[in-house]
Symmetry: C4
Subunit: 254 residues, 4 copies
C-alpha cells in the first residue's frame, strides 16, 4: 500500500549523464551545493517524485501556495558535447530504512532510464567543531573512481576517519545500490561543524565538482551566503550571553 507518484515535466534522454545528489543532510552541504548548481547552470525541472516514504507534510511558499514534499530531478544538457547532468534534491530524505531503500531504488531506476552512467553524492562530514579550511573527503565504489576523485582534489586518508561509521542515508545508499545495478560512483563529503547550514563547505565541494565535471561555476551568490553565515557565527560564538533571538534569523540559508 505504498504511495508513489512520478509527476513528469520533461524527461529527455541524456548523454552519459551524471546523477548528482544533494538532499538535506549534515550542514545541508549537499543541498546547498546542488541548489547552487541548479541556479547557476539554469537546470530545467525534469520530474517530481511523491512518496509515502516522505513526510506527510506540505511546504508553503511566499505567495501562500502549498506544495507536497517531494524529491526532484533537474537536468542540465551540456552544450559542449560533454556529459549531461541530473540533479537530485528535495526537502527530505526517506523517513525510515524502508523509505530510504524504496526512494533510492526508484531514483536509480528513473536515472538509468534517462541515461545516467555515474553517480556523485554530496554531503557534509560533521566534525563537531568549526573548521577554517574544510577539506573534501571522499569514498567511491571502485579504485578507478577513487583515482578520479583524488585527481580532482578529494582527500582520501590512509586511516580514513569516517571508516567506522560509513555513510548513512541517500548519499551512501545511492552508491551501494548503484553498484549492485552496475553504476559506479563516488561521494564528496565537505568537512563541517554540523551545527548550521555551511555554505563554506559547499563551496569546497563545488570547487571539486568544477574540476571533476569540467564546468565553469559562478560562485558569487554563494560567497554572499558565506559572508552572512560568517557574521552570524561570530555573533553566536562571541556574544552568546547577550544573545537576542529576534536579531538573528538562521532560516535564511537553506
Amino acid at each position: 500500500m505504498s504511495f508513489l507518484e512520478i509527476s513528469v515535466t520533461d524527461k529527455p534522454t541524456l548523454n552519459n549523464a551524471f546523477l548528482i545528489e544533494g538532499l538535506p543532510g549534515i550542514g545541508n552541504v549537499g543541498k546547498l551545493a546542488v541548489h547552487h548548481l541548479i541556479n547557476v547552470l539554469n537546470a530545467k525541472k525534469s520530474l517530481e517524485i511523491y512518496s509515502s516514504s516522505l513526510p506527510p507534510q506540505v511546504t508553503i511558499n511566499e505567495g501562500g501556495i502549498v506544495g507536497l514534499i517531494n524529491n526532484e530531478f533537474h537536468y542540465y544538457k551540456n552544450s559542449k558535447n560533454q556529459r549531461d547532468i541530473i540533479f537530485l534534491t528535495g526537502e527530505h530524505q526517506g523517513l525510515d530504512h524502508k523509505g530510504q531503500y524504496d526512494l533510492c531504488i526508484k531514483i536509480l531506476e528513473l536515472a538509468k532510464e534517462m541515461g545516467v552512467t555515474e553517480i556523485i553524492t554530496l554531503g557534509g562530514y560533521g566534525l563537531g567543531k568549526i573548521v577554517e579550511k574544510p577539506r573534501v573527503l571522499g569514498a567511491a565504489t571502485s579504485i578507478s573512481m577513487v583515482k578520479k576523485l583524488k585527481k580532482a582534489g578529494v582527500h582520501f586518508s590512509a586511516e580514513q576517519e569516517e571508516s567506522s561509521a560509513g555513510i548513512v542515508g541517500a548519499s551512501g545508499l545511492l552508491l551501494g545500490l548503484g553498484r549492485l545495478n552496475g553504476l559506479e560512483g563516488g561521494c564528496l563529503m565537505g568537512e563541517t561543524s554540523g551545527y548550521i547550514a555551511d555554505p563554506t563547505s559547499a563551496r569546497e565541494i563545488l570547487l571539486v565538482l568544477q574540476k571533476l565535471l569540467s564546468l565553469d561555476i559562478d560562485l558569487s551568490d554563494l560567497d554572499e551566503k558565506i559572508e552572512k553565515v560568517g557574521a552570524l557565527t561570530k555573533h553566536l560564538t562571541g556574544m552568546s550571553d547577550s544573545l537576542d533571538d529576534s536579531e538573528i534569523d538562521i532560516s535564511y540559508i537553506e
Copy 2:
C-alpha cells in the same frame, strides 16, 4: 496486509461539494470547528473508515459501549441549491507517515466518488503563548483560492511565519494529495497557544467559513465553551501555585 474497512450508512451523490476536514491537531481547533458545524447544521452520518493506520484502541461512551477508533464522513445537503458539504472528523489522524498517506488517499477517493470538488482543511497555528485576538492564517493550492480566502478574511502575510515548517499531517496532506488529483483547496489555521483545546480560535475559523460557504452558523454553544475555557485559563495562569487538580477538569472540551 493493511486493514481498511468502510462502513457505509448513507453515501449520497452531492452537488459540487466541499470536503471540510477537522481531525485532531494543535489546540484541537479544527476538530472543535467541524464538530460544531456537524451539530448546528444537523449533518448526517455518511460513513466510517476503519484502518490499521489508526490506533488499536476503542473509545467507551457514557453507556459503556465501545467503538473502534475511526475517521468519519458526515454530509450536509444544502437546501438552497448551493454547494453541499462533507465533514471529515475522527478521534485520531493516521499514526505514522505511511498511515497518514494511506488514510488521506482513501479519504480523497471516497470524497471524489461523492462529488467533492474542493477541500478546506482546518487546524491550529501554535504560537506558544496565549493570544487575545487570534487571526486565521491561510495557505492554498492555487492563486485563485488564495484570493477567495483573502476575501473571506483569511490572513496571508508577505513574510509567511509558517512557511518554514509548512503544514504537517492531514491538513497539509489532503491539500497536497488533492492537488495531485485535480482538487483545489485551502487551509485555515486559527492562531492558538497550542496548550489547551481552543474554542476561541475555532470560533474565528467558523466566522471565516460563514462567509466562505454563505452559511448562517449559530455560535451560542461555542460561546459557552469559550467562557468555560476562559475561566479555566484564568485559574491556571493566576493560581498555578495553589493548583488543586481535583477542581479542574480539562477534558470536557474536545
Copy 3:
C-alpha cells in the same frame, strides 16, 4: 512480506463458544486470570500463532528448550451441554499498531472458524495506587451485553472514568473488530495499581467469570500467589530504604 504461521495441535468445532482473551497487559491481570482458568479447567492446547508482528525472540524453559514467542489457543469443551470456551494467551501482544490489527484479525478469523460467537476480553485498569478491594469495571459492544455483565457484578459507572482513554491494545481491538464482524463482546477490567502483577485483581475477574459462564473455579492456587504478592508488597512499601534486591524475586508471578 509479513510472516504468519498457524501450528495446529487440535482444532475442534465448538458449541456456541466464548473467546476469552488474557494477553499480557496492565498488572498482567488478564494473563493471570486466563492461565489460572487453563490450569484448573485443564484446557487443551488447540493451536499456536507465530507472526512477525510479535517480538523476534525465543523464551527458554527450565530444561533449556527454546520456544518462539507466539499467541496460543487452548479450548475447554463443557461437558454439561453448555457453551464451550477458547482461551487466548501468549507472551506478548502485537508489537505496533499494524501488528495489533494483523494478529487480532487472524485471531477472530480462527475463532469464528472454531465456533466462537461471543468475546470476553480481560485486562487491568491501572489506578496508580494500591487498592484494597479492586472492582471489576466493564465495557461492551451492545446494551444487552452491558446488562449481562452488570448482572454478573461488573461495575459500570455513570461517569465512566476510563471513557477518556478507552481500551488500548488487544482487549479493545478484539471487541472493536469483533463488532465489525458480527461478534458481540465485553471487556472486564480489574482495578489494579499497575505496578506489579496483581493476582488479587485477577481473582475478582474470575469471580465475575464464574457467574457469567456458570463455572466452578478452584481459586486455591491463586490465593497462594496473592499471599506471596502481599508479602512482597509489604516488604516493598514498608522497607524500601533497606531494600536488598537479592532477597526479592518479582519474576515468580506471571
Copy 4:
C-alpha cells in the same frame, strides 16, 4: 515493496552442514568468534544478502571503497569427510521486528538449499560486570541437542538465569524459526560484561565449538586481541580519572 537481493559468489551443495551464526550482539561475542573461524579455516565467500531490513548505509574500507551493509555466508568444506559449515555474519542484524523475521526466514531458506541440517547461534550473555572466567551458557530446540551441548562443556543451570528474558534477535529467531522448519539447533552464549567487545568470551565459545565440531582451531590471533583488551580494561578501570581519550582506541577490536 521490500528490497531483497542475493549476490551469489559460490553456492555449493554441502554435506549435512551446520549453520553457525555470528552477527553483532552483546559484547560482539558471536561476531568475533565467527570472524575468527572464517579466518583460521580460510572459509570461502558464498553469498551476500542485501535487504531494506538492514540500515540504509555503506561502510568504507581502508582504500576508500564503499560497500552496502549486508549479511554474508562463508562456507567451509570439511576435507575429512565430516560435516561442512556455513558461517553467517554481517555488520548488522535486521532493524526492526519485521526486518528480523524477513532476514532470518530468507537465511534459513538459503541455508536449507545449501544442505544445512543444524543451526548453532552464538552470542554474549551480558552480566553487567566484568567476569574473570566466563562460562558458556546454552539453550537448544530439543533435549538431544541439550545433551550434545552439555557434553561439549556448555552450562545449563537448573534455574536458568536467562529464562526470564529469553534470547532476543537473530540468535533466538533462527532457532525458533528453524524448529518450525524442521531444523534442530542450539545457542551458545558466552558470559560477558556487555560493555566492550569481548574476545575472552569469544574464546570460550570457540573451545566449545572445537569439541562440538571436532575441529582444530588456532587461537593465537584471538589471544593477541585478548591481551590488547585486557590492557585497555586495566587502563579504564584503574586510571579512569586520568583518562586521556586520545591514547585509547576502542575501535580496533570488532
